[in-house]
């Protein structure tokens, strides 16, 4: 049974803007589902509808098998972590965490026990009497988590909980949240626009675009087999290279920018078709096998673990990730090879993947 189930969810704001355009989604018990997409695609709106903070224009939401349409946010058995943490500034950490329990009439000693449990779980030792303003960003984040977990809800909702933290802390908190979520086994919906966060944390990855779901799957499935140019370009950093071209003779893709890529499989039957070839930067080879074309090296970015090569082919630029064994000088012309198996083909007009 799905822990959270969305059927035909739509949202039109009073100003007439339809920002969620029919979402169907089933989230399994205990799984972490990440909603990812560009800014303004309706992720927060969808999450807030699940929480009951925003009205639903059409569709049904079920949480733990119950239709929540008629339920107040507090009755939905969910807890939410906000982007700005939304800690009560005038209350101590203890009171922040205990607030929801007190409002629900939980006995005093039970509250104490649960807050102390959260204190241990979240490494908040010695911080319970402080005010939020006396905490670091990461600590505030943990308090917000604590406020969510003491309630023991059947689902957690996260709205970009890490976006206010610096890069290093973000990586650390990402791991902490994921570990905690797995330990507690609570179904979670996690909104982010950071593709790395999405890839690393998700059991179930949902890519959204303009109020609709583009693709649902495990991170590996979505990364390996993107259904559209949008998904392909959104996941992965550096982003996938896109090269328009025409399939000429069987399996010979002639790129508009110059050069040939050899294709295999069903693509060999698509003679004469206009396509966009997507190639991930790490799939591109330099001076290996039969080169598809030669390209001018314009810039080398040192990553420490690898190098990014910015190559120019005619009017287009593409990015390749290479190891550090060979040194390259800018201005060089390099033979570039593209393995047939690594090419994703997309319909030039619709952007849909061609299998």
């Amino acid at each position: 049974m799905a822990a959270v189930s969305l059927k035909g969810i739509r949202k039109t704001y009073p100003n007439g803007l339809e920002v969620v355009k029919g979402i169907d989604l089933e989230i399994e018990n205990g799984k972490l589902c990440v909603l990812v997409g560009p800014s303004g695609c309706g992720k927060s709106t969808l999450l807030r509808m699940i929480a009951g903070l925003e009205s639903v224009t059409a569709g049904h939401i079920e949480i733990a098998g119950k239709d929540v349409a008629a339920l107040e946010p507090a009755e939905r058995d969910i807890a939410m972590v906000f982007q700005n943490y939304a800690l009560y500034p005038h209350m101590s950490v203890f009171d922040n965490i205990a607030y929801g329990l007190r409002n629900r009439g939980t006995p005093r000693n039970e509250i104490k026990a649960r807050v102390e449990e959260a204190e241990k779980l979240l490494a908040l030792d010695g911080l319970l009497q402080r005010r939020p303003r006396e905490l670091s960003g990461g600590q505030r984040q943990r308090v917000a988590m604590g406020r969510a977990i003491v309630r023991r809800p059947s689902a957690f909702l996260f709205d970009e909980p890490l976006s206010n933290l610096d890069a290093k802390l973000r990586t650390q908190m990402r791991v902490e949240i994921r570990t905690l979520q797995q330990r507690l086994g609570v179904t979670s919906v996690y909104v982010t626009h950071d593709q790395l966060e999405a890839m690393t944390m998700a059991d179930q990855l949902v890519v959204m675009n303009a109020g609709q779901i583009e693709q649902v799957g495990t991170p590996a499935q979505v990364y390996d087999a993107p259904v559209s140019q949008f998904v392909a370009g959104f996941l992965g950093s550096p982003a996938m290279n896109f090269l328009p071209g025409t399939i000429q003779a069987a399996g010979d893709l002639v790129l508009d920018a110059g050069g040939h890529v050899t294709l295999t499989g069903t693509a060999t039957q698509m003679q004469g078709q206009r396509v966009i070839a997507g190639v991930r930067p790490e799939a591109i080879g330099i001076a290996q096998g039969a080169p598809a074309f030669t390209a001018r090296l314009e810039l080398v970015e040192e990553l420490g673990s690898a190098r990014l090569l910015h190559l120019r082919l005619g009017q287009t630029t593409l990015v390749a990730v290479v190891g550090r064994e060979t040194a390259f000088a800018t201005g060089q012309d390099l033979p570039v090879s593209i393995p047939a198996a690594s090419v994703h083909l997309f319909n030039e007009k619709t952007g849909r993947a061609l299998v």
Binding site: P73, A74, A79, F82, Q83, A86, Y88, P89, Y99
Partner: protein, 294 residues
């Protein structure tokens, strides 16, 4: 030489720009204040023929004058009532307008109007509405069995000046409370809603505590207003009567100085008022500057 010129240039312009303000402060505040302090140390006979230095006699006379002490008590009761009534109503209206959301601009405009009405004008309106013989509200009150005549009943007179003084302050408090409420991040209230706090509990546990700095600031402002700026209201409604029942300090200064020609006593009363405003200002600066961080 050059350094000197530079320094001079630096102070000249700011001084020139400040000059009008300094002049206004000097002419309308510092000079009268100085005069009041000086005159509070002298006594004059009723014909203004002789002026004698009398030290602190004027202040001593005030301290033992039962009517002055009664007036002080009246002022305290009056200003606390004005503050309490206008703060509660301002807050109530702000909470309602905050809940309305969209139409709040309309309410804002509507509620701010009283603030633009001169105290004397609004005083005249109140006098008319509560006029013992022809006032429409008086007639209404008679229907429910209340005999209203603030020219006879001192309690009613006090109630009248409290009401007349509050009208303006409610508008002012409303604006500040509304701004305060709207500066509370929405997500805090949403988090509280998820934490099972209903609207009333949210108000008392989240909004009201977060408004504390605003409330304190407004309390001081309202007290200062009731102490010092209600002259116009009283002069348009009760003239300090019946008897001494609404003769608050600021009205008394005027009465003693201009009507009774007791210049020395009036000056001493002004100095006491000055001291009180100084205390309020000190409290204001000392405690109100603290801000809440979200």
């Amino acid at each position: 030489m050059q350094a000197k010129r530079v320094t001079f240039q630096r102070t000249a312009l700011p001084l020139a720009l400040l000059a009008p303000q300094l002049a206004v402060t000097g002419i309308f505040f510092l000079w009268p204040a100085y005069q009041a302090m000086r005159q509070s140390l002298y006594q004059e006979d009723a014909f203004g023929l002789k002026v004698v230095f009398s030290g602190l006699t004027n202040f001593y006379d005030l301290a033992v004058d039962p009517t002055y002490l009664a007036s002080l008590l009246t002022t305290l009761v009056f200003s606390l009532s004005v503050a309490a009534v206008s703060l509660s109503f301002g807050l109530l209206l702000a909470v309602l307008a905050d809940g309305v959301g969209r139409g709040s601009k309309f309410y804002q405009l509507f509620l701010v109007w009283p603030y633009a009405v001169a105290p004397a004008v609004s005083g005249v309106l109140w006098v008319y509405m509560f006029d013992p013989s022809i006032g429409p509200i008086t007639k209404l009150l008679r229907v429910v069995g209340i005999d209203w005549n603030h020219q006879i009943h001192s309690g009613q007179a006090l109630a009248l000046i409290v009401m007349a003084s509050c009208a303006k302050q409610i508008a002012y408090n409303f604006l500040f409370f509304l701004a305060g409420l709207q500066s509370i991040p929405k997500s805090l209230l949403e988090a509280a809603a998820l934490d099972a706090a209903g609207p009333i509990r949210r108000f008392f546990t989240i909004q009201f505590p977060l408004l504390t700095p605003t409330s304190f600031f407004l309390l001081v402002v309202n007290m200062v207003y009731a102490f010092f700026e209600t002259f116009g209201v009283i002069d348009a409604t009760t003239y300090g009567g019946p008897g001494q029942s609404t003769n608050i300090l600021v009205y008394r200064v005027f009465n003693d100085g201009f009507k009774n020609q007791r210049i020395g006593a009036s000056a001493a009363e002004s100095v006491v008022l000055l001291a009180i405003v100084a205390v309020f200002t000190f409290i204001q600066f000392r405690y109100v500057e603290r801000k809440v961080e979200y």
